[in-house]
Amino acid sequence: MTTVNIAHLIGTSNAIIQKFGLQVLDKANSLIERGENVELYFGDLSNTTTGFFHASIGNLYRAYGDQFFNLVTVSGIDKKEDWTEKYEEAINLVKNPKKANEIDFAISKLFE
């Protein structure tokens, strides 16, 4: 088990953009490919967003399906009440791609 301190990895306590989530995805992927389990530590973060969770947790769940729960654990996510909700939302949207598409379609309509 390798612990990834997310704040140290992305270089800031503000995990607020998709780019930072993709950095977490890449790191976790490389560890899993080496046969390691990953613990993602959220405790040193001060802020997170929906977009960050989609890019990190959502993409990891998309890659590994229910095996994700064996390969990736999270800690420090209870620092703020709604972080767990965002974590669960990211996974639920991967389980329900129709809804994810509907959200992105509705947003894209704003740009017409």
Partner: protein, 201 residues
């Protein structure tokens, strides 16, 4: 008088200390799930938004010397209201009831009382608050702008908020980032992907 319109592709995010992202760009940056339904133009605004945030990671590093500005996002009450209303009405409510059915429902009478409304509003507020360190709060200058000088100019092409943002930003040197093809104003820096705006250069 001149059009000061720049394409978003290739625009250096450290060129200015402040940027004014319109409500749609904010919503895309906060709420896009990254699915295949994300529009390519929309992606350009999200990428620029994220590039601004990423610049701040250079603070305190040797690269910081090469960064002209560590920009922040301008936020005023009208913009915050527009972000919340547009997201809740045109995204959250639409997804909840479905693209083909949502118009049969009333936002206040039907949607506001649902658990989905509460959850989506809470999530949006949390996402907005996460950007607190990157936001520059501005007063709306309502009295200074004189809204009565605006309302007589309203027409089918421009809404009140467009005029308001123009008069609010005029002379401040703060670029507006927008995909609104009707946002046609001179002497205001505009950053966009819109071809009709870029053709005005």
């Amino acid at each position: 008088m001149a059009y000061l319109i720049s394409p978003i592709d290739g625009y250096s995010p450290d060129s200015n200390p402040l940027y004014f992202f319109d409500a749609n760009a904010w919503i895309a940056a906060l709420k896009s799930t990254g699915s295949i339904a994300v529009d390519v133009h929309e992606r350009a605004y999200v990428d620029f938004f994220e590039a601004i945030v990423s610049l701040h990671n250079h603070k305190g590093t040797p690269q910081a010397k090469r960064v002209k500005h560590f920009p922040k996002f301008v936020m005023c009450s009208l913009l915050m209201s527009e972000i919340i209303n547009a997201y809740m009405r045109q995204v959250a409510m639409k997804v909840f009831y479905g693209e083909n059915h949502y118009q049969q429902f009333n936002f206040k009478k039907d949607y506001r009382g649902t658990a989905d409304y509460s959850a989506k509003l809470k999530s949006l507020i949390s996402d907005l608050m996460a950007f607190e360190d990157f936001i520059d709060i501005h007063d709306d200058d309502f009295k200074k702008i004189d809204p009565f000088s605006i309302i007589h100019m309203l027409n089918a092409d421009n809404d009140f908020n467009d005029f308001y943002y123009f008069y609010y930003l005029q002379g401040k040197g703060i670029p507006i980032i927008t995909n609104d093809g009707d946002f046609i104003f001179q002497d205001l820096p505009i950053i966009t992907t819109r071809k009709n705006l870029l053709a005005l250069k």
